[in-house]
């Protein structure tokens, strides 16, 4: 599973019907490993592109995939600013940085760029953006006070008490944020586990962590 | 056991070009610093491949530049005492000593080892590391290490240079016995004439990478021409003498040079023939047979050659029986005594002035 799902998934798996072993790594690494015959039954990707890539490889016998979770994008900071205005962000930054995931390789970074671009802010933020190798690193920069702001998932903001959400991006400003699940095996246990993941009780756990159901 | 060397090698600014044959016994390589002694020995050992030529050990070609034969050192079955000790720094002295026998898969010859260790005074050093040894001690260990590997050929590069006279006196008789009884060939590098005369059957005189002279010790060192190479003090003759009797007062009676000689106890059996070196400077001439003097050895002789040296001295060659002696005297004495070719007179040699170290058995 994508490393950023760790935490919530550990909670979820407590009640799983079967014994689940999770390998947390980057989506790219996992996709490639599955293509090379990794003994994986279910692949949870933070990123639809690597699921599509894996499907193209055609290296697994069975392959069914479906959207799994959704998330929202937020701007976080360290202190609560009730009258925060996103438009002033370039000025607020002054000598400081906005942390986002890498704008081409990290999903949250890609969404962040899309959002900021459609809001007309991307250009004016040039040179003030820190790109990290995963979204949690962006979060960490804010948590440590190294960067005053970051664009992350809402779920990340919930997970870390040191940060507060200053702004929620509207879903239409960026492509839909979807986690995708690929079922790679026809084993009954895999089927059961997938069903478990979609069960209402499990969904509730995900929601508690800030995730959202995929819009129909 | 024998070694045949015929090699040429070139270092920047130095050309080696030598050819000699070393039979069983000791062949001394003698010559000034930088003459090429070590280079020759290294070639025989197989540690240096000369540019051209060939080397045979016991008739077996171990190196030949024309056929590209070059036997590895470990296959040449030799023992090498390096000019610098080259002990294994990570092993105790004892381990250094047992290295050769182990490597050759020989059973431990404890008696032999004890003998060597005692002779070289290494008993107290066995547990030490080489780094905790004095210069002379290192050299002794290196010698012991080479001896203990029981080689067919021994290459000794100034093995006694760092040792005191007393210690040399302990080691030389052993090397003599090795020469006489073990049937091995030794190449022996030394700057000490007395060592060479005592040990060597044959001398290869080197100069600037060339063989200046080669032959038996008697030939090379009795040659009046060799005097310039050997230096004033070392010129002398070698004569053969037969052991007649060992007397209870510690003197050995010998017959040689047509005369009866008395020397301090010579380590040889009655009837054996020994080699005596008598330095030219140790021989005094007298017109009449001297009486009432402390010298026991008076040899009647005939002058066969008179040769002026540089300086105030001259060299007198004497025929005594079938052998000859050299005497170095001043020209003033020669004039006073009116010496002439063919004249008969008496050579006086103090018994003890025939040094122990100059007796080759």
């Amino acid at each position: 599973a994508a490393a950023s799902l760790r935490g919530v998934l550990d909670d979820v798996n407590q009640g799983a019907p079967t014994q689940v072993t999770v390998s947390y790594a980057g989506s790219a690494a996992l996709a490639r490993q599955i293509a090379q015959g990794a003994p994986a039954d279910v692949f949870l990707s933070a990123n639809t592109r690597w699921v599509a890539w894996l499907q193209d490889q055609g290296s697994t016998n069975t392959f069914t995939s479906q959207d799994f979770l959704s998330n929202t994008l937020v701007l976080i900071g360290t202190t609560d600013q009730p009258d925060f205005d996103l438009k002033t962000l370039p000025d607020l930054l002054d000598n400081d940085f906005l942390a986002i995931g890498h704008d081409r390789s990290v999903p949250a970074g890609i969404y962040a760029r899309e959002a900021l671009t459609s809001l007309g802010l991307w250009e004016s933020l040039a040179g003030k953006i820190l790109q990290t190798d995963n979204v949690r690193a962006a979060l960490r920069l804010v948590a440590l006070g190294e960067a005053p702001y970051a664009v992350t998932y809402a779920t990340d903001a919930i997970a870390d008490p040191r940060v507060t959400v200053l702004h929620r991006f509207a879903p239409q400003d960026h492509s839909p944020i979807t986690y995708r699940l690929a079922n790679l095996s026809d084993a009954a246990e895999a089927e059961a586990y997938v069903n478990y993941l979609f069960s209402p009780a499990t969904r509730q756990i995900f929601r508690e962590h800030g995730f959202q159901d995929v819009p129909e | 056991m024998s070694v045949t060397v015929d090699i040429a090698h070139r270092f920047q600014g130095f050309d080696l070009n030598v050819s000699f044959h070393a039979d069983e016994g000791v062949t001394a390589l003698f010559g000034p610093s930088g003459a090429g002694k070590t280079t020759i020995i290294q070639s025989v050992a197989g540690l240096l491949s000369p540019n051209a030529g060939q080397i045979k050990i016991n008739g077996r070609t171990v190196f030949d530049s024309s056929t590209s034969i070059n036997l590895a050192p470990q296959k040449r079955n030799l023992g090498y005492v390096f000019q610098e000790a080259r002990l294994f720094p990570h092993m105790s002295v004892a381990r250094n000593l047992s290295f050769g026998p182990r490597a050759r898969g020989q059973a431990l010859d404890a008696a032999y080892q004890d003998q060597i260790v005692a002779m070289l005074g290494l008993d107290d050093l066995l547990e030490r590391r080489p780094s905790a040894l004095s210069g002379g001690e290192k050299q002794r260990v290196a010698l012991a290490r080479a001896l203990l590997s029981k080689p067919e050929i021994l290459l000794l590069d100034e093995p006694l240079a760092a040792l005191d006279a007393a210690r040399k006196e302990d080691i030389l008789p052993y090397l003599e016995r090795l020469r006489d009884h073990a049937g091995i060939a030794m190449l022996y590098v030394s700057h000490s004439v007395s060592e060479v005369v005592r040990l060597a059957n044959q001398v290869v005189l080197l100069k600037d990478g060339k063989v200046a002279q080669t032959g038996s010790v008697e030939e090379v060192f009795s040659d009046t021409r060799a005097a310039s190479v050997l230096g004033l003090r070392e010129t002398g003759a070698v004569l053969r003498a037969k052991v007649i009797a060992h007397h209870p007062d510690g003197l050995t009676e010998l017959k040689g040079g047509g005369a009866v000689l008395h020397l301090p106890k010579v380590a040889a059996q009655t009837g054996d023939t020994v080699r005596l070196r008598i330095k030219a400077t140790d021989v005094m001439l007298s017109l009449s047979r001297p009486e009432g003097i402390s010298a026991l050895n008076v040899i009647k002789a005939k002058i066969s050659d008179l040769r002026d040296g540089q300086g105030p001295g001259m060299l007198v060659r004497l025929q005594c029986g079938e052998d000859h002696l050299l005497a170095r005297i001043t020209r003033r004495s020669a004039k006073a005594m009116d010496l002439k070719l063919g004249q008969t007179l008496f050579a006086v040699v103090k018994s003890v002035s025939v040094a122990q170290a100059d007796i080759g058995t």
């Binding site: 490393a3 950023s4 760790r6 935490g7 072993t21 999770v22 390998s23 947390y24 790594a25 690494a29 996992l30 490639r32 490993q33 293509a35 090379q36 015959g37 990794a38 003994p39 290296s59 995963n134 949690r136 979060l139 960490r140 948590a143 990340d156 997970a159 870390d160 008490p161 040191r162 | 050992a45 197989g46 540690l47 590895a72 050192p73 470990q74 040449r76 079955n77 030799l78 023992g79 090498y80 390096f82 610098e84 080259r86 002990l87 294994f88 720094p89 990570h90 092993m91 105790s92 381990r95 290295f99 050769g100 490597a103 050759r104 590391r129 290490r145 080479a146 590997s149 290459l155």
Partner: protein, 233 residues
């Protein structure tokens, strides 16, 4: 040990055990090869020597992910070499601890070879010559003279490789993934934990354990090296 298991949690404890195991194997297995490669690089003149030198250094130069990626496409279960090894020897590397050991060994290899090379270069050939004149075969000379004399360097190389193996994550996680109990080493576990806000304390527990293991390895190596220098025979 139980307090340690408690301190680290079952996953962390398993990761620790696996990491020690993997690092030891990586170090021990690469040692003979490193000795051989160092020997080739120092003592032999052959065509392709410089190439070998470069190949040995590559894992250091390339980002670990790349090394992991190359390992995956070479030794993966669908990859030619991986399939060959699996079919011929039943040796499975991908997604096993064996693969983690391979990754760690390869990442530590340049360090090990360099240390051994330096040590070999400072061995005085005159001593090997002396051994040869005493009748020792090449193999014997190597075992009794060369190797003991370069032992401090060999130990240094082994420690570097072991330490590197303890810290290696990029290539390992890319090659064999991060499967708890199977391929999740200490650094992979630390990596995973750092993904969760608030898990830093647990991550730092693992870091402390990792450091402790390294300290033990270092101290042992220094003792061994001292013994080697004072001579062990």
């Amino acid at each position: 040990m139980s307090w340690l298991a408690e301190f680290l949690g079952p996953e962390g404890f398993a990761a620790m055990r696996l990491s020690i195991w993997v690092s030891l194997w990586a170090t021990l297995l690469s040692l003979p090869l490193a000795l051989w490669v160092a020997h080739l690089l120092v003592r032999k003149r052959f065509w392709g020597r410089e190439l070998l030198n470069i190949v040995v250094h590559l894992p250091l130069v390339l980002p670990p992910v790349v090394t992991g990626y190359l390992l995956l496409v070479t030794f993966g279960r669908r990859a030619p070499v991986g399939q060959f090894l699996e079919q011929s020897f039943g040796l499975l590397l991908a997604f096993r601890w064996t693969g983690a050991a391979l990754a760690a060994a390869i990442m530590g290899f340049p360090l090990m070879v360099r240390a051994i090379r330096l040590a070999l270069e400072s061995v005085d050939p005159k001593l090997e010559q002396a051994a040869a004149t005493l009748g020792a075969s090449r193999a014997r000379i190597y075992m009794t003279v060369t190797l003991p004399l370069m032992l401090p360097g060999v130990i240094a190389g082994a420690v570097l490789a072991f330490a590197k193996a303890l810290g290696e994550v990029g290539a390992t996680i890319t090659f064999v993934s991060n499967i708890p109990g199977q391929t999740q080493t200490l650094p992979s576990a630390i990596y995973a934990m750092l993904q969760i806000p608030g898990e830093e304390p647990m991550a730092f527990r693992l870091v402390i354990v990792s450091t402790l293991i390294a300290v033990i390895a270092l101290v042992v190596s220094e003792l061994l090296a001292r013994r080697a220098r004072n001579g062990s025979v």
